[in-house]
Homo-oligomer: 265 residues x 2
C-alpha cells in the first residue's frame, strides 16, 4: 500500500509537535532522574514508574490538542482513535531499566505513522540533551546538524549493539549468537540510544527482537534519513504490523550479509 | 600485611594528583570522542586507540614528575618502579568499546595502592563530567557531594549490572547465570560506570570476572567509602594480586547472599 508523502509545511508542523512532545517528556524525566522512585512491575515483567506515566500523559495531551483526529499508540495507556489515518506512536522511556538505575542512555521515542508506515521519528535523550530527528525524504539531524551513517565493508569489521542477549524470544537467540560470533565487537545495553549512535556513524549493526511498535517506529525515519537500512529479519520494511524483529545497519551491503547470517542454519 | 593509614595532608596531596591525572586524561579523551580514530586490536583481542595511549602517557608524566619514586601500573605501557611501596594503578579508558562507539559510559580510572592494597580511587567520566573519589577512611564523593549506597533487602529485589555475559572465563559464566536468574533485573554494558552508579545508590550488585588490577583497583576505595562492600568471589579483600573476580554490592547483607549463590552448585 503506497503511502502518500507529506507536503513540506505539514512535515514541519508535525516535526514541531514531535519536538514539543520530547521537550515535555524530557522536562518530566529530568526531574525524576536519579531520585527515589517506586518501580512497579508490569504483567510482561518490565518495570514502569510514575515518570513513564506522567511523560506519556503529557505527550498525549499535546497531541490530542493539536491533532484531535489522529490516533495515539503509547506504551503505558490504551490506544486513542484506533484506525485513524495518522497515528502517533510514543514511548516515554525506552530503556526504563537504565532510567531507574541512573544511566542516561534511555530515550523518549516519538513517531508519526500513516497507514502503518513511520514517516517521522524522533529519539530524545534528555539528560545528555541529545536529539535525533528523521523524516521521510529529509536528512536525519543530530542536535540540528546532519547525522550520517558510516560505511562498513564486512561483518568481521562491524561493531554490533543489542540491549541484552536475553531479550531474544525462542529461536531468535540462536540466530543472534550466530551473528554475534562473526562481528568484531558485540556491545550490550543502550536500547534506542544504540540506533542513534548508528545513525551518527559510531556503530554498524543493531539487532533486536521481541520489540513493540512503540519501541521501533521512531527508529525507522531516523535510520533511513541518515543513509542506513532498517527492516525486519526477512528484509521487509518495518510497519506497525511487523513482528518485532529489527535489524539496522549503516552500510547497505552489510545489511544483506547480516540478513544472510540471521537466516542461515 | 596491615597497611599503615596515610595522614590527612598526604591523602589530600595524592587525591589532588589523582584529580590532575583525570583532568589531563579527560581533556585528551574529550578531544577524540566521536572522531574517526584508528582502532588497533591488542593480543588479548581488546581494542586500543591513540586516545588510550596519549591519555596514559599524560597521566604517567604527571605522576613521575610529582612522586618519582612511586610505581606505576597502567593498561597500555610497561610498569614503572615495580616493587615500590606506593603504586599508581591507572586505566586511561575503561570501556574502550563504549568510547569508540560514541557512548559516554566509559571512564578513566586512577588508584593509589600501598603494599598492594588500594587506598585512593577515582572514576572519571569526562563527557558527562561525572567524578567519583574514594579514599580510605573518608566518605566517597560524587562531583564533590557525598555518595552513598542504598539498602537492598534481597537478591530478588536487586538491580544487577555486568558489562557483558561473555566476559566470564570458564566456569564463571555458569556461576554468573545462577545469580542472573535470581535478581530482579540484569543490565549490561557500563564497565567502571556501573560501580559509580552502585556507589551513588542507583544499582545494587555489580559482578565481573577476568578483570586486571587497573580495571578494579580504583573501584575499591570508591565503593567502600560509599558504604558498600567489594571483594573477590570468595569474599576476600581486593589487592593487586587478586584473581580478577569482583563482586560489589551496596548492601552488606546482600553481599553475603550473593557470595553464597556464586559459590553454590
Amino acid at each position: 500500500m503506497p503511502v502518500p508523502a507529506l507536503d513540506p509545511a505539514t512535515t514541519n508542523r508535525f516535526i514541531a509537535l514531535a519536538e514539543a512532545c520530547a521537550d515535555a517528556a524530557g522536562e518530566i524525566l529530568s526531574r525524576h532522574f536519579r531520585t527515589s522512585l517506586a518501580v512497579d512491575t508490569k504483567p510482561d515483567a518490565t518495570p514502569v514508574t510514575v515518570a513513564d506515566r506522567d511523560a506519556e500523559a503529557a505527550m498525549r495531551a499535546l497531541i490530542a490538542d493539536a491533532v484531535p483526529d489522529h490516533g495515539i499508540l503509547g506504551e503505558e495507556m490504551p490506544p486513542r482513535n484506533p484506525g485513524a489515518e495518522f497515528t502517533w506512536v510514543i514511548d516515554p522511556i525506552d530503556g526504563t531499566k537504565s532510567f531507574i538505575t541512573g544511566k542516561a542512555t534511555f530515550g523518549t521515542l516519538v513517531a508519526l505513522a500513516r497507514g502503518g508506515r513511520p514517516l517521522i521519528g524522533l529519539i530524545n535523550q534528555p539528560i545528555q540533551r541529545e536529539r535525533w530527528i528523521g523524516a521521510e525524504g529529509r536528512a536525519t539531524t543530530f542536535n540540528g546538524a546532519p547525522a550520517r551513517v558510516r560505511p562498513c565493508g564486512s561483518v568481521a569489521d562491524a561493531m554490533l549493539y543489542t540491549t541484552s542477549p536475553y531479550l531474544f524470544p525462542g529461536g531468535d537467540e540462536d540466530r543472534f549468537h550466530r551473528l554475534r560470533r562473526r562481528v568484531r565487537h558485540a556491545l550490550f545495553g543502550g536500547d534506542c540510544y544504540s540506533y542513534g549512535l548508528l545513525a551518527s556513524g559510531h556503530a554498524d549493526i543493531v539487532v533486536e527482537s521481541g520489540l513493540k511498535p512503540y519501541d521501533y517506529a521512531a527508529l525507522v525515519p531516523v535510520i533511513e534519513g541518515a543513509g542506513g537500512v532498517i527492516t525486519d529479519w526477512d528484509g521487509r520494511p518495518l510497519t506497525l504490523a511487523s513482528d518485532g524483529r529489527v535489524l539496522a545497519t549503516g552500510d547497505a551491503g552489510l545489511h544483506r550479509d547480516v540478513l544472510a547470517i540471521l537466516q542461515s542454519g
